[in-house]
Symmetry: C2
Subunit: 452 residues, 2 copies
């Protein structure tokens, strides 16, 4: 059990400092920003007597309380002393943020294994070294030196701290966020599978994502993956898929080469989402954060722009999706809302005159149609006929709301990402938008794979 890392009763920051140019300060500030959490925070510092009004201790041994987790930020040359003190203090877990171990050279690799061995003997679990720390957004705990993730329902494990940090920027943009975040750095003890098991039982985590460079024990990892997948989607991005990538990864986290082809087929067989790039990775998180799993694969498309529905149709076929034939009943129903120029085919090209009302009516009819499982509403925002830039989206979402959001609705607004009113509206409606045909089709592929 590693849950105490995410929900510790007490935390010691060893290497806290008043110097804003040090990571020990960044972690301290982040942790103290959430003093309202019912945790006891203790600071250990050689240089400072007090930080933000909180007393500093010279050593963890001076702290008059039991400590669940110790976060270590002291330079590598002091690590042995500090680890010994943590053992003496009988902490439950240690997060070693300090870098300069296995990612540097063989000597460092030896060193970090030695530390783990020592801690294991004392019954202490270790995260890191060379990591940014962990976060538990559900209780407002940021025990890392990166920014606090936007809160949400994604449990994230990242072997790279900075990739975690960058992902938070993307999550912010997409109005999605984390329940928990862990960066395992060199990953010498606590492993992906243990955190996966923890996320499996965590009630707030509904989606799991992983950035991984190397997996030490593939079999155990896959076992945990198979256990969680029936309950929660897992999205994986693997760094070091190629020779160049593996070489870079070995400098980064001291990773050993992992056979990507083998890993890929096992992961896909298990039913996880394996992304080949960061755009698909974020898109996957967005998809599962906002859209329900469909009951079937039949897609209906409406559009005000022939070009965008042509491009979507291409992507749909490339992803093996299924554009359905409209029933005669549906054709008859939609025709009463459309001008005679419109051909009653899927995709339904309502041309540039289609306004909010048209979008509302047609989206609703498609959502209500028993022979359609997924609705894609394409829009190119019209700069003419006095149309408002968000009116089509408004119509679409209204139709989704009025039909109980039971089917996945994919708003595909071509290059609409710079329209602030759209972003605000989607935030307000707790809905989402896709901005390219690829992203929309990819989202549907993920959803239909989960419904199989």
């Amino acid at each position: 059990m590693i849950s105490f890392f995410f929900d510790p009763r007490s935390i010691a920051v060893i290497g806290a400092t008043n110097n804003p140019k040090k990571f020990g300060n960044a972690v301290t500030i982040n942790i103290l920003q959430n003093r309202n959490i019912s945790k006891d925070i203790f600071l250990v510092s050689r240089s400072s007597r007090e930080i933000s009004g909180l007393k500093c201790y010279k050593s963890i041994l001076d702290i008059p309380r039991e400590i669940d987790i110790a976060i270590i930020l002291v330079p590598a040359q002091y690590i042995d002393e500090v680890i010994d003190q943590c053992i003496e203090k009988r902490v439950k877990g240690i997060i070693i943020i300090t870098a300069g171990f296995g990612e540097i050279n063989e000597e460092g690799k030896k060193k970090e294994l030695e530390i783990v061995k020592k801690c294991k003997k004392a019954g202490i679990r270790v995260m890191g070294p060379n990591c940014v720390g962990i976060q538990n957004l559900d209780i407002g705990l940021n025990a890392s030196f990166i920014q606090t993730a936007p809160p949400g329902k994604i449990g994230m494990i990242s072997q790279s701290g900075s990739f975690g940090c960058a992902s938070f920027y993307a999550m912010e943009r997409e109005d999605i966020g984390c329940s928990k975040f862990a960066n395992i750095g060199n990953g010498v003890d606590v492993s992906f599978d243990e955190i996966l098991d923890f996320f499996n039982n965590d009630l707030i985590t509904e989606i799991v994502c992983i950035y991984v460079e190397t997996i030490d024990n593939g079999r155990v990892f896959l076992d945990s993956l198979r256990k969680i997948l029936p309950k929660k989607p897992v999205i994986i991005l693997k760094g070091g898929r190629t020779r160049y990538g593996m070489k870079a990864a070995s400098s980064h986290t001291g990773s050993m080469a992992t056979n990507y082809k083998m890993l890929k087929s096992s992961i896909k067989q298990a039913g996880a989402v394996l992304c080949e790039n960061v755009t698909d990775f974020v898109n996957s998180l967005k998809t599962f954060s906002f859209l329900p799993i469909p009951m079937g694969e039949r897609i209906g498309v409406l559009t005000n722009s022939g070009g965008s529905s042509v491009l979507f149709s291409d992507k749909a076929e490339e992803f093996g999706l299924h554009l359905t034939e409209f029933s005669e009943k549906l054709k008859e129903r939609v025709s009463s809302y459309l001008i005679p120029l419109v051909k009653l085919e899927n995709p339904l090209d309502m041309i540039g005159v289609a306004d909010e009302k048209t979008y509302y009516n047609i989206t609703k009819l498609m959502l209500e149609d028993s022979e359609i499982d997924i609705v894609v509403a394409c829009v190119v925002i019209p700069p003419f006929l006095e149309m408002k830039s968000s009116e089509h989206y408004k119509g679409i979402i209204q139709a989704w709301n009025d039909t109980g959001r039971r089917k996945p609705l994919i708003p595909l607004i071509m290059f609409g990402d710079q329209f602030k009113d759209l972003r605000e509206l989607s935030k307000k409606e707790k809905s989402t938008i896709f901005f390219t045909p690829h992203d929309a089709a990819y989202a549907i592929k993920l959803l239909t794979e989960r419904c199989k």
Copy 2:
């Protein structure tokens, strides 16, 4: 020669109106917005006597001047009469914006061919029908019903008007823009190759892009393509690559199936860029708008984030790029600016402490290195150590400026697209930013292909 379409001495808008809910109003407003252009604009309207202070004529025949191009917006049932008047008036070219022809049914196809035949006999060229119009940004002419494109050096031909419109949103975002824009809609007369030839000779157009659904005369098109490619890069996106896509395209512009595989290989052989999605399409335009062609293929990478350089390295290999080995001389030079933890390898991971100065110094040393042709500067914006979100980019661009911008410099700022200060700085510096490893590697692939 079709240059008079883009640089007419006089224009008549047939079907102008005061009603803001009609396309005839949108075109009129757009054209009149640029009254300072030394063109004569005449309006023909049945319903209005005056629009924005400009007198309306009942018929083109009433206009007391020669007319170079007539833009037709009257409903399809009045088209014959209006065409006959244009012939009588001896206009040089006609842009038929009116829809409801070949894209609708066989009858419409017959009709549009009839019109072309009639016009050809009279020596009149035709664009459209079913198009949004044309723009010549160099003289501030927007003869279309969509928004004015941001001005720039891209000549764009789009078979879909709305895709043009959507592309303008993306161009705006990327601070790039058009010299000329033409939407040929059903494309019954003026063809891609003719516009390509025109762009070939146009001094302001430095980059050409095409959205195409069908090409009627592939051989002629490829001839024009081969002629322009040694001078200007051409970026092509084909809608209707698949069965679904072709079906949608046939409703859209009445397109016939084009064998994509054959077209693909011919286009690639000719040396044009063929994109498989809209993101790559915009990325290509951005790449050629901002970056010089490299002298070779050797890439040097610096980063503050191991994860992002691992992900970039994977993409580099996937795109067949060449990460070079650093020379001993370069290693020695860079080492004086770096902390001892840093491994002197490519990618050069300077870890999270690297600041503006570090980025400046290392980027400059790589740009100056005779064994490096292309520099990739990866950044994950650090939310710690009091760093500013744009400081790394500042250092990078300063180094690029100080070395005369001779080599392509690729700033890869992971998910940094929401940082306003970055966007503003890149705009001010007339530089650009890539936000994902895919986009950065793809850009380099395009550039190195041009240098072969």
